[in-house]
């Protein structure tokens, strides 16, 4: 029995390995595209929002107070003092994205502040957020004004840099934690889609295609049992669907530093997780792929042609996406009941593994449920191979 399963599985694998185009388009290309597209998007987005390092912001100011001059002098700001009559002209320049910021201080600002006037004097900061330099200048001058404001009414300070915690050092999340959180949000859903589409590219061709071409019947008149043929096909397609999914995830994960723009070294990503995490991840990925392959195999066996099988695959993809979304919204949970629901359990398990919070019991429940579901589907596929209506319905 094992021999026949292996023989059929080997044939499925040979088919894809021998067809270089199919192998490239179903296994390598999705991962490669994922890496290239995400890297390009990341680089383009950074380019879109970044301002050149040595840029000096053009800041027009009406009634710029002397008291603020030392604070502003430390920043790359070129202050151009103007009169009230010129305000409209500068606003026009801002609207046309020709300059960066306009600050309008009330007359006698320093005296009003010193007298704690009521209502408090209002400083207007005008900008155009569609221009990177303007948006950045607005953020900078606003933060300087807030700093000046805090200095005037200093009752307590927040997160002052110290020897122990330099600027931004109060956030105790490590680089790995931040990476894990973001990857945990993005990758499980991507995995669901890639794994499913990998199966979708192979299962209809392998089963509905064989039916359509009349090659399945030749297989069914051999002494190999229907169960061996069904299992062999599912495992054969599963190997490639798994490779396709792993390639796609690798592509997405490797592109993550470019996407995040966080200065992460690609090599570091693999140091964040230990071997145990990878083993658990692989178990979840493999069992989920088996669920997808066996599910799609059922529909492929039912379909009369590859075209019909592919059309059945689309509504199932929607279902997979919904389950993936629900899993992402639930996020990190310890409730084992959620891990009894196929597909959603995989999303939940992957989130926890990436968030360095892997629960071995939950992963084992996930794998057991997925394997059971795949076995039930393969038993149904075996029955379908026995059904003359299914095999000869063209």
């Amino acid at each position: 029995m094992r021999n026949n399963v292996f023989t059929v599985m080997k044939k499925e694998c040979s088919r894809i390995f021998n067809d270089r185009k199919l192998f490239f388009t179903t296994v390598i290309l999705p991962g490669l595209l994922m890496f290239v597209i995400y890297s390009l998007i990341g680089t383009a987005m950074q380019g879109m929002f970044d301002v050149e390092d040595d840029y000096e912001y053009q800041v027009y100011a009406v009634g710029f107070p002397e008291a603020l001059a030392p604070l502003f002098a430390e920043q790359p700001l070129h202050i151009i003092e103007i009169s009230e009559a010129e305000i409209e002209g500068v606003k026009q320049q801002l609207a046309e994205r020709e300059t960066d910021v306009l600050m309008v201080f009330p007359a006698n600002f320093d005296e009003l502040v010193a007298a704690a006037a009521v209502p408090a004097p209002n400083v207007q900061v005008w900008a155009n957020f569609t221009r990177n330099e303007s948006r950045e200048a607005d953020a900078l001058v606003t933060s300087l004004l807030q700093e000046y404001h805090r200095g005037l009414a200093l009752l307590f300070s927040i997160n002052e840099p110290t020897d122990e915690a330099a600027d931004g050092g109060y956030n105790l999340a490590s680089e790995a934690d931040i990476f894990g959180m973001i990857v945990g949000m993005v990758v499980p859903f991507l995995f669901m889609i890639f794994s499913y589409t990998g199966c979708q590219a192979l299962a209809p061709e392998s089963i509905a295609g064989e039916k359509e071409r009349g090659t399945l019947a030749l297989l069914l008149v051999t002494p190999a049992s229907r169960r061996d043929i069904a299992l062999g096909k599912i495992l054969g397609i599963g190997v490639f669907a798994l490779m396709s999914a792993v390639c796609s995830i690798l592509g997405a994960v490797l592109a993550m530093p470019s996407m995040l723009g966080a200065g992460l070294a690609t090599g570091n990503i693999f140091n964040f997780y230990n071997a145990g995490d990878f083993v658990l991840l692989l178990l979840v990925v493999m069992s989920t792929t088996l669920v997808f392959v066996s599910l799609l195999s059922l529909f492929s066996a039912y379909a009369r042609s590859v075209k019909e099988a592919t059309s059945y695959a689309m509504p199932i993809l929607m279902l997979v996406m919904v389950m993936g979304f629900v899993g992402m919204f639930i996020g990190e949970t310890e409730n084992l009941h959620f891990f009894l629901i196929p597909i959603m359990n995989s999303v939940l398990s992957i989130i926890k593994i990436f968030a360095f919070d892997a629960n071995v019991l939950a992963v084992l429940v996930t794998v057991a449920v997925n394997v059971c579901v795949a076995l039930v589907f393969s038993a149904v596929l075996t029955k379908m191979f026995d059904s003359e209506k299914i095999i000869f319905d063209k």
Partner: protein, 286 residues
């Protein structure tokens, strides 16, 4: 002689869709493709099934190959029930029909090894058998060419070799020359002649009267799913028909000419008898 195939009261019905029911103008959405058919075939015998399209020949062949299950009745293939021991039946038979195709993505060499493995053959036995069959059918020259690149004739040769990879004692061929050009058809008929010489039991369904007359010991005529006549060619024809010697050239003649050739011997031909039976059974004028 040992009974190698026993078919007992075989019945097979198919459910029709509404559209099919309307097309066939049937009162019920069920058609009886095979209706209480019984016959037997003996070891080393060539048994021919003859009948018009849709008579039920292919259904009987598929039931014998365990691709279909009968609604009632049973068939014993070398003592094994097709209902209870389908896998053992599949070990004993070689099944070929034009509807069974080889996978385009593989070479005949790969497919031969694949099916040999599924038949549980060890590598040495498979290699020996491959040498023998590839030599016989002249497959060596295109053994490493993908099926998609082969001509129809080459494919049929490869299909033949693969269908008998395990050297079955019973060969079931359903219209094996249907749709083939004369050159390819000759490969099939040559094979049948050689298989008969080797003492194989053959169940053959074909429209070629000449082939049946000259190759088959016994014949069953199926009309509307029922066995209308069954027996030796002589007993069916009712008088002795002089048969030309068994060689492929005879079968390769246009079938009509072959049967007309038989009338030169003075007797009724199988074709004449078949149409008589058909007219009597269906009431249709031809």
């Amino acid at each position: 002689m040992k009974e190698i195939l026993t078919i007992k009261n075989l019945t097979k019905r198919f459910k029709l869709s509404k559209k099919q029911q309307q097309l066939k103008k049937l009162p019920k959405p069920i058609i009886t493709a095979v209706d209480d058919v019984s016959f037997e075939s003996y070891e080393g015998e060539v048994f021919g099934l003859l009948g018009p399209n849709g008579a039920g020949k292919t259904t009987i062949m598929r039931i014998l190959a365990t691709l279909l299950r009968p609604d009632s009745g049973d068939a014993l293939v070398d003592g094994c029930s097709i209902k209870d021991e389908p896998r053992r039946v599949r070990q004993k038979i070689g099944f070929l029909t034009n509807e069974l195709k080889l996978d385009d993505f593989f070479t005949p060499n790969y497919l031969f090894d694949f099916f040999a493995q599924l038949h549980g053959m060890d590598k040495t036995a498979a290699a020996r058998r491959k040498d023998e069959l590839f030599g016989t059918f002249g497959i060596d020259s295109f053994a490493e060419v993908k099926v998609s690149a082969l001509s129809q004739g080459m494919r049929q040769k490869a299909s033949l070799a693969i269908s008998i990879v395990h050297d079955p004692s019973i060969i079931i061929f359903d219209e094996p020359t249907n749709g083939l050009d004369v050159i390819t058809a000759r490969v099939v008929t040559d094979f049948l002649i050689n298989a008969k010489k080797q003492g194989k039991s053959i169940i053959l369904s074909t429209h070629i009267f000449g082939l049946l007359e000259n190759l088959c010991e016994r014949i069953g005529i199926i009309i509307d799913g029922k066995m209308a006549a069954c027996g030796t060619v002589d007993s069916i024809v009712g008088e002795k028909v002089a048969s030309p010697p068994v060689n492929s050239a005879t079968y390769l003649d246009e079938p009509h000419n072959v049967t007309r050739g038989s009338t030169l011997h003075g007797g009724k031909t199988l074709e004449d008898v078949f149409f008589d039976i058909y007219r009597k059974t269906t009431g249709e004028a031809i």
